[in-house]
C-alpha cells in the first residue's frame, strides 16, 4: 500500500531523511522509534504533504484505485481524500470553527471525492456519536471550537476521533502518546486498536513502548539520522525500553 523508495528530504538546507526505504502492506501496523531529531516527525509531515518539506530525491508511492502511484506531486488535501491521515503531535487550534462543523466539512470533502452520497445533519451526528463513544467524549466536546483550549489529552483524543470519522487507509500517528496520562493513554490506545483492520495500515511514531502495549505492532523500526538502522518485531520495542536507543545505535555503528 505504501512504498518509500530512497527518500531524501531537506528542510532549510539540512538533510533530514537519508535514503529511507520502507514498505507497508495493507493491514500492517509499523512502529517507528528513535531518539529526538532522528527524522520521525519529518517523515510524518512529508507523507502528509506539508508544503515546507521538500523531497530532494526518491519517491513515495501509495496505492490509489489498486494502482501504485507517486504522491509527491499531490497536495496535502488530495492525499487526505485518497486516505492518508496524519494524527498531529501538536494539533492546531482553530478558533471560531466548531469541532463538528470541521468534521462535517472534512467528511463531506472525502465523500464527494469518492462519489459517496452525503449524510444529512442528523445522520452525521449519529454517525459521529458512535465514534465519540470509542474515545469517551461527550456532545459538548464536539460543539467546542476546534482544539481551542483543549488539554493535551483532549487534543489527542480529538485527532483519533477525526481518524475514526474519516476512516483512512493509512494513518500516521505522530507521538500520539506524548502528553497523555495513564488513563487517557488507555482510552486512546484502545480506541486506535478498535480502528485497526485488515483493510487499513498504520504507522505509529513513538519514543516509548507504552503505546505499543495497547496497539501491538507487526513491525518495529529504529530510526537514526533519517534512516532505518534496525527492524524487528514487537520484541525490539521491549529491548529498546530496556537498554535505550544508544545500544542499538552503537551496534549499528
Amino acid at each position: 500500500m505504501l512504498n518509500i523508495e530512497n527518500l531524501n528530504v531537506e528542510v532549510d538546507g539540512t538533510s533530514i531523511l537519508n535514503n529511507l526505504n520502507l514498505t507497508i502492506n495493507t493491514g500492517e501496523v509499523h512502529a517507528i522509534m528513535g531518539p529526538n531529531g532522528s527524522g520521525k516527525s519529518t517523515l510524518s509531515k512529508v507523507l502528509a504533504g506539508h508544503p515546507d518539506y521538500h523531497v530532494e530525491s526518491g519517491d513515495i508511492k501509495f496505492e490509489i484505485n489498486l494502482k501504485e502511484k507517486s504522491i509527491l506531486e499531490m497536495e496535502a488535501d488530495e492525499r487526505a481524500r485518497e486516505g492518508i491521515f496524519l494524527a498531529f503531535q501538536y494539533p492546531t487550534e482553530v478558533p471560531g470553527v466548531s469541532n463538528i462543523e470541521f468534521l462535517k466539512a472534512a467528511f463531506n470533502a472525502v465523500c464527494e471525492h469518492h462519489g459517496v452520497e452525503l449524510m444529512d445533519e442528523q445522520s452525521f451526528k449519529e454517525f459521529v456519536k458512535s465514534k465519540q463513544q470509542l474515545l469517551g467524549v461527550d456532545d459538548s466536546f464536539i460543539e467546542r471550537g476546534l482544539n481551542v483550549d483543549f488539554s493535551g489529552g483532549e487534543k489527542k483524543r480529538n485527532e483519533i476521533l477525526q481518524m475514526a470519522v474519516l476512516s483512512p487507509r493509512l494513518a500516521i500517528l505522530d507521538e500520539t502518546d506524548s502528553g497523555l496520562d495513564v488513563d487517557s493513554l488507555k482510552v486512546v490506545g484502545q480506541g486506535v486498536n478498535k480502528l485497526r483492520s485488515k483493510r487499513n495500515s498504520m504507522i505509529l511514531i513513538t519514543h516509548y513502548q507504552r503505546l505499543l502495549d495497547y496497539i501491538v505492532p507487526d513491525f518495529v523500526h529504529v530510526f537514526h539520522k533519517g534512516r532505518i538502522i534496525k527492524s524487528g518485531d514487537k520484541s525490539l520495542a521491549a529491548e529498546i525500553e530496556k537498554n535505550g536507543f544508544d545500544k542499538v545505535i552503537a551496534e549499528f555503528q
Binding site: 502528509a48 504533504g49 506539508h50 508544503p51 515546507d52 497536495e75 496535502a76 488535501d77 487526505a80 481524500r81 491521515f85 496524519l86 498531529f88 494539533p91 492546531t92 482553530v94 478558533p95 471560531g96 470553527v97 462543523e101 470541521f102 466539512a105 472534512a106 470533502a109 472525502v110 471525492h113 471550537g145 476546534l146 477525526q162 474519516l166
Partner: protein
C-alpha cells in the same frame, strides 16, 4: 460670513431649493447656515486628522445633483432585513408611504415626518437639531443639515417590548451623479425594548447617500441596532449614528459593510446615565478598490457606565480600511469600564488598514483596555485543515468564517444572521480566498 467658493454640491443645492419650499423661516435659515458651514469647512481633505486615511479619489471632483424622489429602480419593501417587522422605506432619499409598512408597530410607536415634527415642536426641534449636530466640524454632517427635509421622527412608547423596525435607504442614480440626504430622530421611551435595522442599499454608478440618525434612549430602554451597508459598487456613503443613553439603558450595536466603493461611518455614544451600557460590534469586508472607514466615539460622562467594542475586518485585493476608535472618560466618571478591540485579516498583500485607538481618560478609577491586530491566515492552520481533505480555498474560507464567528455570535435575529452569513459566503467566494 459668506464664502463664495463653489462646491461640488452647488447643483444639488439649487435643485433642492427648487423642490423644497414652504418651510418655516428658522428651518430655511438653519439649512443656509449649515451650507455656509460646509463651504467654510470645505470638502474633507486628508490634511484633517479626522479624515487622515480617507481616500477621496473621484468623489471630490464629482458634481452631484439632488435626487428626485421616487425613482429608485428596485422596490424598497423587499430589502427589509428584519423579517415581519415594520418597515420605513426611503426611496432615493424620500420617505415612501406606499412602500412602507407600519402596521406591525401600530399602537407601540408614534411616527411622523421630521418636517411635521419640527413644525409642531419648533423649540424642541431646534434643541434636537443643535444637539444632534454635537459632532461639530464635520463637513458631512453640515452637508446633511444643509439638505434637511427628509426623514422621520419616531417615538417608541414607554414599556413597549419587542418592537422591530426596518429603515431601508434605497438609492439609485442614472447617468448624472446624485445625492440623497436623510435625517432621522428616534426616541426610545422608558423601559422599552426595540430592534432597529438600518439597511443602506442602492443601484447605479454614481450616487452619494448621507444619513444621520439620532437615538435617545430613556432610562431602562434597550436597543438592538443594526447598520447594514450593502450599497452598489458605485455608491459613496456617509452615515452617522448618534446614541444618547440614560441610566440603565443598553445599546447593542452591530455594523456591517460590504458594498459601497467609499463608505464612512461615524458612530457616537454618549453614556449620560449611570449603569448605561453600550456593546458595539462590527464587521467590514472590503474587496477590489473599496474604501471603508469606521470612526467610533464613546463618551463616558457619568460613573458606572460600560462600553465594549469588537470590530473585525477581512480585506481582499487593493481594498483599504480605517478603524479609529475613540474612548473618552470624563472627569468624575468613576468605575467606567471600557474595552476596545480591532482585528484585521489581510487576504492580499495589496490591501491596507489603518487602525488607531484613541483614549482620553480624565478619571483614575477606571478599567480601560484596547488592542489592534493585523494579520494573515496561518499556514499551519491551512495545512491542518488540508490534511483532513479540505481544498486550500475551502480551508481558507472556513478559517475566515471562524475568524468572524465571535462577532456574529451575539446576534439573535435569525433573518439578519442568515443575511450576514450568506453575504460572508459571497465575499469569500469572490475571486480566490487569498494569499
Amino acid at each position: 460670513m459668506s464664502v463664495d467658493k463653489l462646491t461640488n454640491f452647488d447643483r444639488a443645492k439649487t435643485s433642492f431649493n427648487g423642490v423644497v419650499g414652504g418651510s418655516s423661516p428658522w428651518l430655511s435659515e438653519y439649512r443656509e447656515k449649515s451650507y455656509e458651514d460646509f463651504k467654510l469647512l470645505g470638502f474633507p481633505t486628508r490634511k484633517q486628522e479626522d479624515w487622515k486615511y480617507a481616500n477621496f479619489r473621484d468623489f471630490k471632483n464629482t458634481d452631484f445633483d439632488y435626487l428626485s424622489p421616487g425613482s429608485a429602480t428596485k422596490a424598497g419593501s423587499g430589502l427589509a432585513l428584519l423579517e415581519g417587522a415594520a418597515t420605513i422605506v426611503f426611496d432615493n432619499g424620500s420617505f415612501s408611504q406606499h412602500q412602507s409598512n407600519l402596521a406591525p408597530i401600530d399602537g407601540l410607536v408614534e411616527i411622523c415626518s421630521l418636517a411635521d415634527y419640527l413644525a409642531d415642536h419648533e423649540q424642541s426641534g431646534k434643541d434636537l437639531l443643535s444637539s444632534s449636530d454635537a459632532m461639530t466640524g464635520n463637513p458631512m454632517v453640515s452637508l446633511n443639515s444643509a439638505f434637511l427635509a427628509q426623514g422621520v421622527y419616531v417615538k417608541v412608547l414607554a414599556d413597549t417590548k419587542n418592537a422591530e423596525i426596518n429603515f431601508v435607504y434605497n438609492t439609485s442614480s442614472g447617468k448624472q451623479a446624485s445625492s440623497a440626504f436623510i435625517r432621522n430622530i428616534v426616541d426610545l421611551g422608558e423601559n422599552s425594548a426595540v430592534s432597529i435595522c438600518e439597511h443602506f442599499t442602492g443601484q447605479g454608478d454614481h450616487y452619494f447617500s448621507n444619513t444621520v440618525t439620532s437615538y435617545r434612549l430613556a432610562s431602562d430602554a434597550c436597543l438592538d441596532h443594526f447598520r447594514i451597508e450593502s450599497e452598489s459598487s458605485g455608491g459613496f456613503q456617509f452615515s452617522e449614528q448618534k446614541f444618547h443613553l440614560s441610566e440603565r439603558a443598553t445599546l447593542n450595536s452591530f455594523v456591517f459593510n460590504m458594498g459601497a466603493s467609499w463608505s464612512r461611518n461615524n458612530l457616537s455614544v454618549n453614556l449620560i446615565g449611570p449603569f448605561a451600557e453600550a456593546n458595539l460590534n462590527g464587521v467590514y469586508l472590503p474587496c477590489e478598490s473599496q474604501f471603508v472607514d469606521h470612526h467610533t466615539n464613546i463618551v463616558h460622562e457619568v460613573p458606572d457606565t460600560k462600553s465594549s467594542q469588537l470590530y473585525k475586518g477581512i480585506l481582499k485585493d487593493k481594498s483599504r480600511a480605517v478603524f479609529a476608535g475613540r474612548i473618552e472618560v470624563k472627569p468624575g466618571a468613576a468605575r467606567t469600564s471600557a474595552f476596545q478591540l480591532n482585528k484585521n485579516l489581510m487576504l492580499s498583500n495589496d490591501a491596507e488598514v489603518d487602525t488607531t485607538p484613541q483614549l482620553q481618560i480624565d478619571h483614575s478609577d477606571v478599567k480601560c483596555s484596547h488592542g489592534a491586530t493585523v494579520g494573515q491566515l496561518s499556514a499551519e492552520e491551512i495545512f491542518y485543515l488540508q490534511s483532513r481533505g479540505l481544498r486550500s480555498n475551502a480551508a481558507k474560507q472556513l478559517l475566515c468564517k471562524g475568524y468572524i464567528s465571535d462577532v456574529f455570535k451575539p446576534i439573535q435575529h435569525v433573518s439578519i444572521l442568515d443575511y450576514l452569513n450568506s453575504s460572508l459566503v459571497d465575499f469569500l467566494g469572490k475571486g480566490s480566498a487569498g494569499a
